[in-house]
Symmetry: C2
Subunit: 396 residues, 2 copies
């Protein structure tokens, strides 16, 4: 029979990143295309210990394997709140926290509870493809605001707030943004919050990389400056403990969190209990800060290495960002020409990068950039990949 699908899903394409990810089955291809944390960032021994502890205790294992409550494990919620207060100054007692099935579900449900089909979410452009597609899957229209080195163009943001009808959310990744690696300045964070207040919209602050700073100074989260209950804050354990376990969290004004609880209940009832217990046990009885410090050092080394290879081989053939944390470098063509031919030529020479188009709100628009990841490739692959990119750029 012929199938017809819902309006929201019908035209949604599988993520370009995912399709590239699939094409990487050729082991001779060097991939700068991943969004994955390094496997070295997983505390395998400690998680093995905790797992053995849970499985050796009848009460703990019964809890781990049984249905849990939608809000999440009570101890984990308490520990995450304490950590968010300590690390990111998120101390508002009017907020409530829910554990979600990875940061992606946090974004998806935040959109679902606040937006109707046809509503608008203003996004940094380029921005995280997973968020864009999630918004689209709710029938919401993402509208891009240009991103510069210190954050979103706040003049363009205000123009869009005036121009667009039914703006519900401003979606930002202020710290080590995906895909650019850029960090929004304190001044611009304040301005974004000010504009959200002036035009009475909410902010969706996505901070999956916030713990991964390896250079520069901490910048306060937008949520920490929010006195009006205007910020929904999404975080995740994916980049600090494990991505495959799918454990993230949303901290939001209690009225919003209550609605996210209802939306989550009908979506997947609750997040995997066993890994919530692993996270809680890790936070309580192991040194998460020391573990993250090792991951930061790893990414500092890998990012520095990729940047020095780019400096050496690519030089002024292209422009690229110099991140202070996170997983990604963004590369623009020098003459602002479309990057697609370069991305395609790289793939021909066995270097995979993510084409910039994937990160644009307008699915028909061209990009002059592409994303490079340094957490997954080896040092040798990073050097080899930089050479390939340089050769491709020179040949143009």
């Amino acid at each position: 029979m012929d199938y017809s699908f819902s309006d929201n899903i019908r035209d949604l394409k599988p993520s370009a990143i995912r399709e590239i990810f699939k094409s990487l089955s050729d082991p001779s291809v060097i991939s700068f295309a991943a969004g994955n944390p390094s496997p070295e960032s997983f505390p395998k021994e400690e998680m093995a210990e905790i797992s053995a502890k849970i499985f050796s205790d009848s009460a703990l294992v019964s809890k781990a394997l049984q249905y849990g409550i939608t809000e999440g494990d009570a101890l984990l919620r308490k520990l995450v709140r304490e950590r968010l207060a300590e690390k990111f100054s998120l101390k508002n007692e009017g907020d409530d926290l829910i554990i979600v099935t990875g940061g992606q579900q946090g974004l998806d449900l935040s959109c679902k509870v606040t937006c109707n089909p046809g509503d608008v979410i203003l996004c940094e452009e380029p921005t995280f493809i997973g968020a864009l597609n999630s918004f689209r899957a709710s029938g919401v229209r993402p509208v891009g605001i240009p991103l510069s080195s210190d954050g979103i163009d706040t003049n363009a943001l205000e123009e869009a707030l005036k121009r667009e009808k039914n703006v519900r959310l401003i979606y930002v990744i202020p710290t080590f943004q995906n895909p650019t690696g850029l960090t929004t300045s304190l001044e611009k964070r304040k301005k974004i919050l000010e504009l959200a207040s002036k035009y009475n919209v909410l902010i969706l602050e996505d901070n999956p990389y916030g713990e991964l700073r390896f250079a520069g100074e901490e910048v306060p989260t937008i949520k920490s400056m929010d006195t009006e209950g205007r910020v929904i804050y999404c975080g995740s354990f994916s980049k600090i403990l494990s991505a495959g376990m799918r454990v993230g969290f949303v901290l939001a004004p209690a009225a919003i969190t209550q609605k996210i609880v209802v939306a989550k209940q009908v979506n997947d009832v609750h997040t995997n209990v066993f890994f919530q217990m692993i996270c809680a046990e890790y936070m309580q009885h192991y040194d998460l800060d020391a573990h993250i410090a090792k991951t930061r050092a790893l990414y500092r080394r890998k990012c520095t290495h990729m940047l020095s290879c780019l400096d050496r081989y690519v030089g002024n053939l292209a422009e690229y960002t110099r991140p202070e944390g996170g997983l990604f470098i963004w590369c623009n063509t020098r003459d602002a020409s479309p990057s697609k031919p370069i991305v395609q030529a790289c793939l021909k020479e066995k270097l995979a990068v993510v084409p910039g188009e994937a990160f644009l709100c307008d699915t028909e628009a061209q990009s002059n950039g592409f994303r490079l990841n340094y957490s997954m490739p080896s040092d040798e692959q990073i050097e080899q990949g930089a050479k390939i990119l340089a050769d491709v750029l020179k040949a143009r």
Copy 2:
């Protein structure tokens, strides 16, 4: 600030089951209100062994903790397909299988990809509250069709198919239905399929309890009789291995599964990898049939005990179903009077049951029934609870 929410989520209430679940913190309350499998049904030792095996192998643990693909673990998908072919005659090569985050996500995404807001899903009445709320959260209107002891009223089903505009799905739990414990006859299964074909709608066949038969004869799944690619089939490991791990699956015509993959990717990227590996390893190297046989025997014993206590104490004070599998017995008032006063009186006497209203499509309607669960209470609690119920019924 004042918050406004999306139309679909604004009026959605937290599940009544969940609220009752929360109120059970009083340990002196006997609960027949659960939907949980018995903790005895979790193969703790075997899962501990598999967990230790994964954590002791560097390649396995790296895989378990890293991002996976949205479709799910390739080995698990293969093993589930083989099992579905063997146990439920689901052999159509035009189908494709996706691993989801529990059966609930399977229902949620099936609705999301096939229905627009305002569309109608025809449901058995009473039916699973988690499905009802999921449909509502997509803006879909569930319309109830009366359920009798051999399944949905197929005359009423056809009338609704003629009457209602924009019917997209017929949602049924044909085997050991939640909340009634009833099983749809072969004849009615055929008729439902025939009507779906005649009126060109899809069937969403929910079968989380199908492996838990402890009496009577197997009845073929509706999907096994489908030659037109008209059935989306949802299953789960929640009732046979663990509920807390959140691993389920959807088997559907490939074109539908592809859309579910896209919808899942923006929802939670993929299901917890570690527990997908545990399920696969269990299916490959342990005796799942033997494990399920033990669970069936457990539930046979518990259901028989509850029925004999009801027969002894309640007798003809009420009507109740005699399930051949699953987790639930449904009880109706003898005179078809509203059950709410009985439910409330039971709770006052420290017996919790789930009021029938929770399972109705019309949120304003009254029910003359309530749901009893026998998988969680102890034998003593079952007897004590039946006595309380009888006393309440006698006092009316």
